[in-house]
Structure formats: C-alpha cells, structure tokens
Amino acid sequence: MFESLSDKLQGALDGLKGQGKLTDKDVERAAREIRLALLEADVNFKVVKQFVDKVKERAMGAEVLESLTPVQQFVKIVNEELTAIMGSASTKLTFSPRPPTIIMMVGLQGSGKTTACGKLAKFLISEGKSPAMVAGDVYRPAAIDQLKTLGESLNVPVYDEGDKADPVDIAKHGVEWARQKGRDVLIIDTAGRLHIDEKLMDEIHHIRNTVKPHNILLVLDAMTGQDAVNVALQFQEKVQFDGVILTKMDGDARGGAALSVRAVTGKPIKFASSGEKLDNFEYFHPDRVASRILGMGDVLSLIEKAEKTIDQKKARELEQRLRKSTFTFDDFLDQIQQVRKMGSISSLLGMIPGIPSAKLKGLQVDDKAFDKIQAVIQSMTPEERRHPEIINGSRRKRIAAGAGSDIHQVNQLLNQFKQVQKMMKQLGSGRMPKNPFQMFGNPS
C-alpha cells in the first residue's frame, strides 16, 4: 500500500552514489519526500515545516560518511532530528512518598481512557504496586460498569458513586477511600470530553485542583490527525498534563500525532498501548516510533537488535564458510536460532522496511513452521547436516519419522535448502554484507 519511504528516498537521491556530498538540489528532493511522508503520517503541517527546515539546514553540504550511502546518510540525519524531538529515553511515572500516588486520565471521547486505566492497573501490579481505581465518568452510559468489570477481572478495587454524583466529589472521596484501604496507587478515570467544551474542561480543572494528582496522563489515539495539536494545547492549558498514553498502537497508523504533541507541548509520550488484552501496555520507546512515523519499519532498531544478538565471531565464520560455499544444515539451523533469539519471526518481519504492516498483518507468519524446520534438521545426523547430498530415500523416511513429520515436508526443506545454498554461492562470490540481516532488505 505504501511505497516505503526508503524506496522513495532512494528514488529521490538516485545516481548520487559516490558523489561524496549531498548537494542542495538533492537535499531539496529528499526533503520533499520527508515532508510528504510526515504529512501522510499525520504530523501537524506546521510541525512538519519546522522539522523539514531543520533537516535541510543540517543536510545541505553534509559530508557523506564513507560507510553510508547518501540515502542512509540522509535518513540518519532525519532520524537524529526526530529522536531529538521525541526525547531519547522513556520517562517514568512520579510516585508520591505519601501514598496513594494519584494518576488521573484525561482525553477525548473514545480515545481509550477506561481500557487504559485497566491496563495501567495491571502494569502497576506487575511492578509490585497495589492500585485501585475511581469511576469518574458519570456521563457515558455504562462507563462505570465497564471500569468495574475491568477491576473485577484484575482483582483491583473500584470506587464509584453511581452516575448521579459530582465527579469532583467522587474523586475526592475516592482518594480518602484508597488511603483507608491502603492502596498505594489510585487511577482516576474521567469522562471523555472535547477540548473546547468549557464546562467539562472546567470540571477536570477542578478535579485537578481538588485532588492534586501526581501524574496526569493525556490518552491519545494513535490514529489522531492534524487536530491533535489543538487537543493537546487545550488540555495542557487546563490541566497541565505530565505525559501521554498513545493508544491503539496495534493498528497500522503511523502515529505522527505523537510527534506533533511532543513538539508543541514538550510533554513526553510515556506509554504505548496496543491490543485489547490488558497486558499490551508498555513504556514508550521514542526511537522506535520515530522510525514508525517515517514508515521505515523499525529498521534502526532491527539493526541494533541484530548487532546485539548475533555473535560477531559466528557471523564472521559464517561469512568465511559462505565464501567457500560450504553452507551446511548446521549453519542453517544456527541462523534460524539466531534470528529467533531476537523475537518471533512475525514481529521481526514487522520491523523490516518496505513491507507494509497492513499486508503483514494479513500474512500472519506461522512461527510453528520454524519449529518444524528445526525439528527436521535436528533429526538429521551430523554427517547428513554437513553433506545433505547423501540424504537418500530411506534416510528421508528416518528423518521424517524422527521429526514427527512426513516425507513431503522433508523433501520440501531439502529443496529449499538447495536454493538457499545456490543463492549463498552467488552471494559468496561477491562481497558479503557485514551483517547478514542486510539480506532482509536494508536500504543500501
């Protein structure tokens, strides 16, 4: 669906190889692509303007490092600037020395506050806290029931006064209640409200001044468009929130709103929430989202991850062997295991640029297939792994039986392996990429 940004940049900067410097014209062309990509990602257009100017300024006449292509050089600058805006590390919650620590959730209707309350409670439990929740949304039908149901499933007590009481009173009483119950964190759910709804904005302002939360979190849908800036500024003015929870991150929205909000309010994105299960909630990684916004997959974190996990020496040995084109089933198995150390195959695929995540989600790579491959290889003898050509019919039968598989699958694997070997031979005759994962489509 999307042509990946790296492809587009490649196009814009084509023919630039070996030129050594980014010329103004190249930078203009590449900047245009960045501008479009950011707009497509829902970054506010004013933020985009400022950002692109900054990148252009840095990129004009920049030396291209020897180890990088011009495209990579440009992406590096863009990424550095993006990361600079997003902030480098995730910032944690503030805990009060005098419990309960109060956390208030605010946001537009439908942004996912109530679900986020449940997820945050679960997250806090896993960090050793004993949270409680307050049902402060008296407006939306059944919002109180929803929070209570979540509380029950987590075994977290919920304070409510029905939907006739005043939310300010509910919050105030809720804090007392939590203190008496000895809960150390109190999460206050509030009704969704429009940032221009004066009456309701005054209401949360009032709650804030009454219970003085230690953390106020703005819950923001990752799919939000240009208006995110207005929303954030208004909430900032009324309640000075401390950070953002970005929700619905399991969709394929690029999440440019996060960048806009961060840029105009300076407030950090603290958590990323995805999925409907209550445990899909984690600290936000600004660097990962920087590349998601750009539609580059998580190419940068993939490289980083790969570097950490792959044993460098093994990689060199592998390269040696590839050069001599003695790629065996042992190497194959080893490689599969290395890759799997980094996470499930499907999550790895999600990090590769050029694969639109929408398509990927439909694909649903079967990690079990890799289990089967491993089982087949493991039931080969060492001799067979080194010299697959000796695997005849009866050996195939034995291998299949040993792996709890059938002949057909063994044949399939042998064929695939032959192809990989052939490919490796071709690669081996040229220069090997330093990092075998460049085979996955690193732009270079």
Partner: protein, 334 residues
C-alpha cells in the same frame, strides 16, 4: 435548522423533527451554532484572504495556502492534489477569473469530490437491517442510539441488537440507549458468539414485526484479521435469514482521525461492503477531512454526521456545508 428527516431515510413518511433548542450546546458554541454564525463570517474571511493574496494573480503562494488548508483538515495528499490541480487548470484556462470565482469554485470542487451516490438510508424493508461497524471508540453504539431515536420519532419501531459481546459493559451501554429511546434490545451474555445474538436479533425482529433492526458490533482495528473475519461471518448470518440484508452497512469514522482512516475504510469495505459512512464527533475542532478522502477514493457516500452525545446530535451530511466549514477557519487564520 431543522431537517426534513423523511428526506434522510428511504421508507418513512414525510415528517420533520425540529432541532430542540439546546441551550447548553449553544453556550458551548456547538457545531450548529458555530455553523450558523460561521457561514457569513467564513465566507467573508475567505474572500478577504484571497483578495489580499492575489488580486488577479494566481501564484504558488495561493495554491500552497489552499493545499495547507486541505492538509490541515486531514484531507490527505492525494485528494488535496486532485482538488488543487482541478482549480489550477480552471485558473489557467481563464474559467476562474477572480477571488470571488475562486472561493466559489474551491467550495464546489471540494463538494464534488465527495461520492455523489444517494446519501439516504434505506429502511424501506420490513425489517430493514442496519449493521454498524468501525474501529474502537469511533461512536458506533452512540450513533445507534441516535439513529434509533430519529426513526422512532418518524414512527418506525427500531430494535437494537447487542452484537458487541466483547468489550466490558458494551451490552449495558447499548441497553441504556435502548431504554432512552424506548425500544427493545436483544442481547446475550458477554463473551458469547456475536453471530448468534445477531441471528436471534433478526428472528426477534421478524417475530415482533419491528421495522428496523440496528446491529451493534465490537470495535475492531482493521488490522485484526480474525475480527474482520468475524464481521464477515456476522454479515453471512444476516443473509441467511434475509438474503438481501443488511440493507445498510454504516462505518463510523471519528472526525479526529488522520490518514489511517482511509486504510480503515478500505479494509472494512473489503470485509463487509459498506454502504455509507457516519462521520462522528464533528462537534469538536477537527474538520473531518478524512471523510472526503474516504468518499472520493473509495466511492462511498458520507450519510450522517454526529455532533454530540445526545440523542438529537445527528445531522444529515451535506457536502456543500462541509466544504464551507472546511475552509472557513483555517484560511481565515494563519
């Protein structure tokens, strides 16, 4: 402004539902109030803006301003380019001569970019079946309450089906709307098979001679393959009982949604063949331009807009009004 709601639905008698004077909404400067005094103001602002930029010169600055206004409204790049190119061509050929002409054509061309199919909602069947789909939190359940209320005002008997068996208290939420409207709600236990409750709901409607069955579904992200399959199954179950149903499949899109809205709509369209869009939360400051992209690129009409959280907060969609609202503020400011 009261709408002739019998023009909004196919299959209801002529009757208007006067908009209740909603003091609070007016105080808050709700969408309608804004629109009313916005009409005159924004038209003027637009013209002044353009008069000052160009006199009779159409330069890059001007086109860029228009582009920005569209982008700022979440219309997205492709549809923006399509609109601006058309206007540029008309300016080049001399068809647009001055700022007044440009402002007029800008609004017209924008309005024309919406799919021009019938925007009415077909309830001329007994029972008529409306299936409501969309991403989490976009306003499905609330919109169902509103549609049911309007139908009830027009003398139709709606019946609601609690097809969101997943989200905590979703059934209670729909039931509350049912009791506010005064209509029956068919529901099962939470966690049950949505297809089963839908099947029962239609059977109940047939047995009790309800006029319109409105089916709520769980919110789902278009990327969740299994849930999209589940939706297809719901549609199949409906067809099993009434082959030509669902007569309407309405997709709710939140006006604050950015470019992802287009992908959402595309995937929902693939799964259940949507007949129209309800653009919700137009009472905020978001312009809802993604609806234009969706309507233009996927050829689906926008049928209704949601303008608040009350039963009455529903309006028929009007492309011309929308185009006016879309440019009003953003070009006037800057």
């Amino acid at each position: 402004m009261s709408h002739n709601w019998s023009d909004v639905f196919i299959g209801v008698e002529g009757r208007t539902i006067p908009d209740p004077v909603d003091v609070e909404q007016q105080k808050r400067g709700g969408w309608l109030a804004q629109l009313r005094d916005g009409l005159a103001k924004s038209r003027k602002a637009l013209q002044q803006q353009f008069a000052s930029v160009m006199f009779d010169r159409f330069d890059d600055d001007l086109w860029e301003k228009i582009e920005e206004a569209l982008i700022y409204a979440d219309v997205g790049i492709d549809t923006t380019v399509s609109i601006v190119e058309k206007l540029e061509a008309e300016a080049d050929s001399g068809a647009i001569k001055d700022s007044t002409g440009l402002v007029t054509r800008l609004r017209e061309v924008t309005a024309e970019h919406f799919c021009q199919d019938d925007r009415r909602i077909d309830v001329a069947h007994t029972p008529a079946v409306i299936l409501m789909v969309g991403v989490n939190g976009t306003g499905k359940t609330t919109t169902i309450g509103k549609i049911a209320w309007h139908l009830k005002q027009l003398g139709k008997e709606p019946l609601l089906v609690a097809g969101d068996t997943f989200r905590a208290a979703a059934v209670e939420q729909l039931s509350e709307w049912g009791s506010r409207v005064g209509c029956e709600v068919v529901k099962h236990e939470r966690g049950g098979d949505p297809a089963a409750v839908v099947y029962d709901g239609i059977a109940a409607a047939e047995a009790r001679k309800a006029d319109v069955v409105i089916i709520d579904t769980a919110g789902r992200l278009h990327t969740q393959v299994n849930l999209m399959k589940e939706l297809e199954k719901v549609a199949r179950v409906i067809k099993k009982r009434i082959p030509e149903a669902p007569h309407e499949v309405l997709l709710t899109i939140d006006a604050t949604t950015g470019q992802n809205g287009l992908i959402q709509a595309r995937m929902f369209k693939e799964a259940v063949d949507i007949t129209g869009v309800v653009l919700t939360k137009m009472d905020g400051t978001a312009k809802g331009g993604i609806a234009l992209a969706v309507s233009h690129e996927l050829d689906v009409p926008i049928k209704l807009i949601g303008t608040g959280e009350k039963l009455e907060s529903l309006q028929p969609f009007d492309p011309a009004e929308f185009a006016l609202e879309l440019f009003g503020e953003s070009l006037g400011r800057s």
